[in-house]
Subunit: 224 residues, 2 copies
DNA sequence: ATTCTGTATTCTGTATACATAATTATTTGC
DNA sequence: GCAAATAATTATGTATACAGAATACAGAAT
């Protein structure tokens, strides 16, 4: 008919969700996975062609990504994948730490045992991947657990900011390959976090989360 | 010539900054000041005409505002000014409180005496407006002081999130007219905040900021 | 050889046109 | 008279066309 079906078939994009969201999350993934590298200029026409969309919706997506902080827009000279300095990464980790500490405090007050149980479940699955040495699956569940923990606080604004920050850090954290001993330490911290959460032991929980994210900084600081 | 000068003359918009930023901040102001009310549908053509721009840059601006959380986009049915429930406002104040507490801790460590001096200066100007009973000027300086305080932490990511949240709350806080006694209390809290900052007395500072934002909630809770 | 200037090309920014989906109004059946 | 279905209108979503700005290139002058 028109170009839509053709495009959908040709590129495997576009299904039923809004095209805007589709482009945004597609580009987000491309940035996080390093397909589009930091500092890389994003030329609208070739990028649009590679996604199977015209410049108009692509530009709208770029504006969204700029507000999310993944892309930088220089007026008159287009879009560039944002790159983060070492200080940026440190600042973001300080911030995400504060957010997760807040989330922990709130979660201990308002989360149901059932919801906490679901986090425990995720944790168990993550441990299985750890023991199997499956880094990628471990990594994904790790992210998911942090998000779920924040979600327990029942504060959507907090969750949204946390998600935004997590997206900015994702690529960097993914790069930061930890050695076996640090991986084991991270795993132990997670174990302690879930345990403290189940006991609703706020102070311990906050302390471990603080330590956990401090260690995350130690892990990535050389990589940045 | 073309339409540009004509438009600029006709509406007083557009000078030299990027048109995108111009539209975004213009719409942001219109939302904050209640010219565009919560829940109001934003029809692209009439809104664009009132701003003197076509739909394309307007739509890009709306996408940005959606990422900032001031506008809601329902795919296929346009943009609506976002409205916040009482819980939303509470959640946001909890979050902004946590951010300002973090900022306070960091500021006590890294801020220079000179930078703190600038906050003191703003505070003095605000007190003058308070004593003169100039609500609007007071209000604006109040916001500016909170932003400056966060800026002292030297964490741009924190500042950006704080600014976004502050924008979402601006309209609501502006509505929440406090009586003379509460206004006086808020003023006293500010005085204590600046004093504690000058002494770099972290614990007191955090405590007062917490109290200050708790009171802010009490002030607006009926208004929401 | 290098730098400055003028020109050509490429890319971005905006407006407009068209197609599709949503909404409203109207008409038909009960 | 009311409800449901259908037609008409209006709004959104996407693509394209055009204008202006930025960049890259080439040639001339120092």
């Amino acid at each position: 008919m028109d170009g839509t079906a053709e495009r959908a078939a040709g590129r495997g994009i576009i299904e039923r969700q809004s095209l805007h969201q589709e482009i945004v999350s597609r580009l987000r993934d491309m940035i996080i996975e390093g397909e589009l590298q930091p500092g890389e200029r994003l030329y609208e026409i070739p990028l649009g062609e590679s996604l199977g969309v015209s410049r108009t919706p692509l530009r709208e997506a770029l504006k969204s990504l700029a507000s999310e902080g993944l892309v930088e827009l220089a007026p008159g000279r287009g879009a560039v994948v944002r790159q983060f300095s070492r200080k940026d990464v440190h600042d973001m980790l300080v911030l995400i730490r504060s957010m997760e500490e807040l989330a922990a405090r709130l979660a201990c007050e308002v989360a149901s045992d059932q919801d906490i149980g679901r986090v425990r479940e995720l944790h168990n699955r993550m441990r299985a991947h750890y023991q199997a040495g499956e880094r990628m699956e471990y990594y994904k569940l790790n992210q998911q657990i942090h998000s779920s923990l924040v979600a327990l606080a029942d504060n959507p604004h907090l969750s949204a900011f946390h998600a935004t920050l997590q997206a900015r850090l994702k690529r960097i954290r993914f790069i930061g390959h930890e050695g076996p001993e640090r991986w084991a330490a991270a795993m132990a911290e997670h174990e302690a976090i879930v345990a403290a959460l189940e006991r609703r032991d706020v102070e311990t929980l906050v302390e471990i989360i603080g330590k956990h994210l401090h260690n995350a900084w130690l892990r990535v600081r050389e990589a940045v």
